[in-house]
Symmetry: C2
Subunit: 379 residues, 2 copies
């Protein structure tokens, strides 16, 4: 970071099927609560970045920068950023650039998505816009299908069993039980996962993150300090289509973004106490922990096998404490922002120093890794 | 600008109904030509920003940052920016922040849109995503309808006649005749405008910019100098819905963005030699020239009445020399980028110092004003 950027306010709405709320209702709720949390005047916000993927399809509403700017009395400069399911963290990345440039001193980043107003099959097709329209879509694949292929290949290469994979969603559901904003607060047993309806072999419904509505907001500032600062925000990419990659059981964009982020923050995996990673499907959770450097190849599942509580291997640490995408829910544009504010919250609650948010789009064609530091904790 | 940002490469594809080319084809062509124009290595590009509004609807392709990043051998960080029809200039604005922050030294901005692959009525509905889904869309309005209301009101307030309004599109068609990339290169007579089919009273087909395919790209750098630098990039907003505004015959966002841009560049309207303004409908051209400060209220049409050539009032000056949105075409995400590269080209060709690009989204709910300087010209 070229300047110290602090997380001075955060909020989220309930994630779930929010039939009674419009896109604007969700925006107003999250923006209002974030400003209240920051204890700043609305006019202190000198730019707005909105993260959203699907509103043009699902809500016939593009131009969300202007929409959200108009919620504030002074209509600050605003724009929308889209990077499929990584839109939230990429919006924060863009906010960092605006803050570092000096064009803004205090920025509101709002991630939001309202996905349940249109049929599930329409949303599934629209989500395939995150994959390659020329290479992947003509085959009839949807994302459960893509991650089903990935899961099959991973199980073949690394002898991961169905019993082991069940542990991922069960752990995330247990975490979400403590999160009042989560889409699903019901604990499930590991065997419930494989008893649920099959979606794309070997993935069952309970291996998949849901279609959710929700919003999350954060206020970032170079002008006002707080306990939590952004220590790194790094982006990397891979091909949209998985057919163009040397391997589908490891995500190169995660490795590249993580490497750059650890360097920017000056930390290693050993320093990280809290992780929110992008578990769009259970198999992704296993791969993410390996690509981020928290497990050797083929050993990502150990994090879930060894957890005696809803937390992980490490004593004061958390892994998808929000419930992750699986159980907190996955309103696409909101997810990356929610991950970052969850890490900020855990750092303060547990008086730990470092946390990491890992957010990707498509089959990890975009990955953004954000590292946060609690400056009130001495190294 | 916090740093000197130079325009070191530019390109555009033909604008028009490009049935034989895919979204990726257009991206590849524009990116390749821009890199060739900049005479740089592809690997010199350390970030990519893609401007696009409608690809998710029209091409089932979101996630364009990752798509374009993958066209380059080193897959640099990339994201998509959307601000309706202002996406192109807002992407350049975002690029300026990334360059000023030091996160990148050389950025590719690619504006692209492929609109003609789906039915016109579907595109018209999708474009209404730039207006307010809760306030404007339920009335059945489309953008020709919105600008028809604006034209009627303007004609009532300022005694603008149909004969006068005809001059706008006739002038823009004459300009486009010299632009090999333009969608329409055919000159038209002023009376052809009112003889063309009515779309939304008083606007006829020839008052309206077309639905076009096309791409435009520019390479901006703080690392490599060139003759043309970006002197200002400023954003402002108004409500999405025109029903919430005190007046519909003047656009507050244009006035606010222009005021900030003139201040940032340290110029007045008298210094500007070239203007590319957002003539999505003929009436917008008249209003734009007033809101930008080039004409008194009610007098914007004088620029078109007094032109004895395809240029305007002023001797060495140009007004929508590309043909504007009306005749060069309006592939939404590409337009703002095309305006900026057109200004860069005119500054070099005519050895003039200052030019301005004015790009808006919706009914000017977002406006971005960019000012460019030819540094090879002494004041």
């Amino acid at each position: 970071m070229q300047r110290d950027i602090f997380l001075i306010g955060a909020s989220q709405t309930k994630f779930g099927e929010l039939w009674g709320k419009s896109l604007r209702d969700l925006a107003e709720e999250a923006v209002g609560k974030a400003i209240a949390d920051a204890s700043c005047l609305p006019t202190a916000i000198d730019a707005v970045i909105v993260a959203n993927m699907l509103a043009e399809t699902a809500n016939n509403q593009a131009h969300l920068g202007a929409m959200v700017s108009s919620l504030l009395p002074h209509r600050p400069p605003a724009l929308r950023v889209e990077a499929a399911c990584a839109s939230g963290s990429v919006a924060v990345h863009t906010a960092c650039a605006l803050l570092e440039s000096g064009r803004a001193q205090t920025i509101l980043v709002l991630g939001l998505e309202k996905m349940t107003d249109i049929p599930g099959e329409t949303i599934a097709c629209a989500l395939m816009g995150a994959a390659d329209a020329e290479e992947d879509q003509p085959s009839g694949l949807t994302f459960p299908g893509i991650f089903g292929l990935i899961a099959n290949r991973y199980m073949h290469e690394h002898y991961l069993t169905r019993d082991e994979l069940n542990l991922v969603s069960a752990t995330h559901h247990l975490n979400a039980a403590e999160n009042p904003y989560a889409h699903f607060q019901n604990p499930i047993d590991p065997e419930d996962v494989e008893k649920s309806p099959i979606v794309a072999d070997p993935l069952h419904v309970l291996d998949c993150s849901p279609v959710s509505d929700g919003a999350a907001a954060c206020i970032l500032s170079t002008h006002t300090a707080s306990q939590v600062r952004l220590a790194a925000s790094q982006l990397a990419h891979d091909t949209l289509s998985i057919t163009k990659r040397p391997s589908i059981t490891s995500f190169r964009a995660t490795k590249d973004a993580a490497k750059k982020a650890y360097a920017e923050a000056g930390v290693t995996t050993k320093d990280i106490s809290h992780i929110e990673h992008h578990d769009c499907f259970s198999i992704a959770a296993v791969i993410n922990l390996e690509d981020l450097g928290f497990a050797e190849k083929g050993k990502g599942i150990e994090w879930y096998k060894n957890s005696t509580t809803h937390y992980s291997l490490l004593t004061t640490h958390s892994l998808n404490s929000s419930g992750g995408l699986k159980s907190c829910g996955h309103p696409v544009g909101a997810t990356g922002v929610k991950q970052i504010i969850e890490i900020g919250k855990k750092l303060k609650e547990e008086k730990t120093q470092w946390g990491l948010a890992h957010n990707f789009g498509g089959a990890c064609a975009t990955c953004c890794v954000t590292i946060l530091e609690n400056t009130a904790v001495s190294p």
